[in-house]
Symmetry: D2
Subunit: 169 residues, 4 copies
């Protein structure tokens, strides 16, 4: 039996909320990526685009799996040395980037650049998730949130092809 | 701090063994992929190629993360609905393929075909892993083992460019 | 300025036809992939799914770029050694697989296996494209056609989640 | 027959030079990516890492194919609408990013972020390539050069695991 998409989406959205990430937080990242190219872009359009990305099953799968690994690392329930690797967000561990890429791919390759950029500059909610303070582990979540934002930006570009030249620059 | 590769490799090899997969099992998959093209290929060459793939950090990371998720699913320790998805190797869950792809990519895109083929035909150890009998969960492991075999075949192709035309056909 | 999707789709479909590949040819590959799992699948459903894949811009871009390179190789207009590599469909050249992957990715990672399998088994139109007889070069086209078929199969799996377990096995 | 790697490498290096990109140009991008994390990194180390990336066949294949398409676009020899798309570096065309990704993948997923970042910030030679002035087309080359630099940075991270935490941050 395969689960209905709606059930997965509900759980994925709940997990994002539980871990401190709202749709508006992600929409603000989309705005950050696009505001200099699209002066008339509204936060509402960004919210709509994030909501649309959050209907995709690949995105649900990545959210559920990534946040699960973050939670298990917080609870010290992973085998060593994976426990240490995930807790410390180790520099040569790339599985978090791999999950992020599975999200970005759904909206085509034009999202890679936005994902890489936002993951490095870490505006808004990404800076909070990445502070590495306190007991919380967000090794997977920060990459997933960046990938959702990059995908929502790609989606805007595909939706408005006449503005795409700017959006993807 | 970042772990030494040797420590990761030791753990990755140990986990494969614990889950019932030997280097020779994987080498037999490589042989299965290549025997009709390379009649003089020896099992020893296949073993050497698998051993070489098992020195790569991306491969260690995928093995540790994938087997960890399989084990947690066996122990009923994942959140729902991920628990059900991984236990049942659900048809629309593609994170196992994503981890496999992170292995195959290291040896270039020529390995995709071999990975897809072997994952579908499921010879040797892959049939055992995929029997879905008993309490064991191998949702991630079977894709990882197929990816290691496909990578070892790609590596042989790169090593012997004059035989590569056959190897990758 | 960015081109309208409809203009790209028209050109992509025309190029496929010019190179000897019909939508029904690709639908037959989808049927080949699924017939043992879905005895009630009709060719019409397969045609519909292929037509839907052919509306995606990533698919248009891959078709236009790949067929362009095939045509230039036929006309002996590529620089050496690329001319020789593409004409001979050289075993270590993986750019054709890379373009194919850009198609498969749009429908999620569950399509990798079907792509790899069909590219290796080469049923129907793929055998014709891959015959390497006559002056035609189809180094890119055969991978692209296999990727469209695998994507159409993934799309069926996503469309009918209750049948997806079989479709993706 | 499959070409020797050395022959491909020679051609790939020659094409980069012909198109105005030196190894030192790329090494400067690596330095730009790492200087704030690794104050003692020398340009020579960056040059060595770029040279090592330039020995890989996937990298040669991407360079040869991408630059070939740039040159054909300059010569107005591509079919429409591909001619227009490549000449204008159209915003929804992602095949250039796909080729870049095939390079980055060889050094593992930790390079995605650096690639995306540098492709967006466009320091040094990337700004020149991307100026879209004059008759030259560098739609593929700028992504390829960014991908080589990101790969060389990943390679440094893998080479010095004790410094990798900084390198990949």
């Amino acid at each position: 039996m395969v689960l209905q998409t709606s059930q997965l989406e509900q759980k994925a959205r709940q997990l994002l909320g539980d871990r401190g990430v709202s749709v508006v937080d992600i929409a603000n990242l989309v705005m950050h990526l696009q505001k200099k190219y699209l002066p008339d872009l509204t936060l509402e359009e960004c919210v709509d685009s994030v909501n649309s990305v959050l209907t995709k099953r690949e995105v649900h799968n990545a959210i559920l799996t990534g946040i699960q690994l973050d939670i298990l690392a917080e609870e010290d329930k992973l085998l060593q040395p994976l426990q240490e690797i995930v807790t410390e967000d180790e520099g040569l561990y790339g599985i978090d980037e791999i999950l992020a890429l599975s999200i970005v791919n759904v909206y085509g390759s034009i999202g890679f650049t936005n994902y890489g950029y936002i993951d490095k500059v870490k505006p808004g909610i990404l800076a909070e998730l990445n502070s590495h303070e306190g007991p919380r582990v967000h090794t997977f979540l920060d990459d997933i949130v960046g990938a959702i934002a990059a995908s929502a930006a790609s989606r805007l570009a595909h939706q408005y092809p006449d503005r795409a030249q700017d959006i993807t620059q």
